[in-house]
Amino acid sequence: MIEMIKVGRSYLPDIQALTDISFAVATGEMFFLIGRSGAGKTTLLKLICNMETPTNGLIEVAGYNINKLKGKKLAFLRQKIGVAYQDFKLLSDRTVAENIAISMEVSYKKPQAINQRVRDLLDQLQLVNKHDTLTCELSRGEQQRVTLARSVANSPRLILVDEPTGNLDASTTERVMELLTRSNKAGATIVIATHDESIYRGSNKRVMELRDGKIHSLARSNH
């Protein structure tokens, strides 16, 4: 699903955020990206969804060189990628339901199907009573869950999640991981950038650690 070959990303004047990143994520895999703050996790996710372009190297998503895609082709690929951003990117003047629906509206889903999907997701994330609440009135933990709901709402083939449990308690973290696992079992490839060791420990999933913008280790988590 994702292939990165010798990818680098630098910022002016001379900040090297990522250097020589090469790895692949198979279709249907759940993949963890770990590392300290500033290690390059968020930059890597942004490169995968084409929010940023690499300084060098090749990135392929679903067989497409994502940096070469433009116009409709890029839009259609993005409809198949769900992203839960670390800064949430919620529309503060819209309700929770409207924020989640936005990712389905762009692919012209029927209103009834959108409503049903929104209610299901809110139920899974214990946010049913927040359906008509403006997102600016939510706590950070609730905003985080809305972001996550929006990323999985359109049943994307690839889900990129940046720190999904940063503001959540243990039981809500469990619910969030259940939701992601369900999407994964339904066929979605999932890449999770996290600090939270508890969500990947003992999962037998592949974990890649970044340090100072470089791959430090890439192995299965079985301990």
Binding site: A75, Q79, K80, K89, I102, V106, Y108, K109, N154
Partner: protein
């Protein structure tokens, strides 16, 4: 959910969120259309009045003595040498006297003690319709003045000249005001759409990230431009029509305005103005959103 449903909903949301600036733009477009259409209406009516005046155009050549039949034939040939004319009529001194008496009507007895040959003989010339431009008539009159035996040539020079320069000035005013108002309308629409875009930058960026196509993002803004152009021109033209009715109602009857016979635009011109307004506003909107999409 189909494309148009989403697009209309989005356009409605834009209008609700930025109604104050939308209203200002709408008023600007209305006012621009009103001012431009007003000058155009005055201009077309002046041209109409000019062509009606031209219908009655005749040149009168006053002669120093009455021409005999042979001389009349010579003069006729000389006149036609310049250009073909519709009609050449010789007016003898006696005919001129009786015409004048007719014009005086019941006051014609003032002429009782005046000899019947006190008026000069003249030639009335009605030029061809193709020879009715101001400069052509002027050249023709100069030619007639140079004919032997001519004392004076008259065709209401001052009036024709003033009218000619007035319509020329009006042409410049219409063209300048048209250009300025077109620029104003396009700028205002582009500026309003830019404000809306800035106001909703986060949302538009998110739409791009979740896979909205460019037409999904662009079409609601184009609809706004079309709506502003349509509504603005409808209101502008309605206001002009109300003004036209008011002038027609208050200034009917004998007088200068009655001479001009004010007419409103024919339907095809009204449709043309509305269509142009829609095109210009859509263009303003398109340029703004294209700038954002290229970012």
């Amino acid at each position: 959910m189909n494309f148009w449903f989403t697009v209309f909903r989005q356009a409605g949301r834009n209008l609700r969120q930025t109604w104050a600036s939308q209203l200002m733009t709408f008023l600007t477009v209305s006012l621009s259309v009103l001012i431009f259409a007003f000058f155009s209406l005055v201009y077309t009516n002046m041209l109409g009045a000019g062509s009606r005046l031209n219908e009655d155009l005749r040149l009168v050549v006053y002669l120093d003595e009455e021409p005999g039949p042979e001389m009349q034939e010579q003069l006729r040939r000389k006149i036609k040498k310049f250009d073909d004319v519709e009609e050449i009529r010789f007016i003898s001194r006696i005919d001129a006297y009786y015409r004048f008496a007719d014009q005086l009507g019941k006051d014609s007895d003032v002429l009782n003690d005046i000899p019947e040959d006190f008026l000069p003989a003249s030639i009335e010339i009605i030029p061809m319709k193709s020879l009715r431009g101001y400069n052509q008539v002027k050249l023709f009159s100069e030619y007639l003045a140079s004919l032997p035996g001519t004392e004076k040539v008259q065709y209401g020079q001052e009036w024709v000249e003033r009218f000619y320069y007035f319509t020329k000035l009006l042409t410049i005013v219409v063209m300048l005001s048209g250009m300025l108002l077109i620029l104003t309308a396009v700028f205002m629409v582009a500026y309003t759409i830019r404000l809306t875009i800035m106001n909703r930058q986060d949302e538009l960026e998110l739409l791009k990230l979740v896979g909205a196509t460019n037409s999904y993002i662009r079409t609601p803004f184009l609809l706004e431009g079309i709506l502003q152009g349509f509504m603005g021109s409808i209101i502008g033209m309605s206001a002009l029509y109300a003004l036209f009715r008011w002038i027609s109602f208050h200034f009917t009857g004998p007088g200068l305005l009655n001479l001009f016979q004010f007419n409103f635009f024919p339907p095809i011109v009204i449709l043309g103005i509305i269509f142009s307004s829609i095109c210009l506003c859509s263009y303003g909107s398109y340029t703004s959103i294209q700038k954002f999409l290229k970012m």
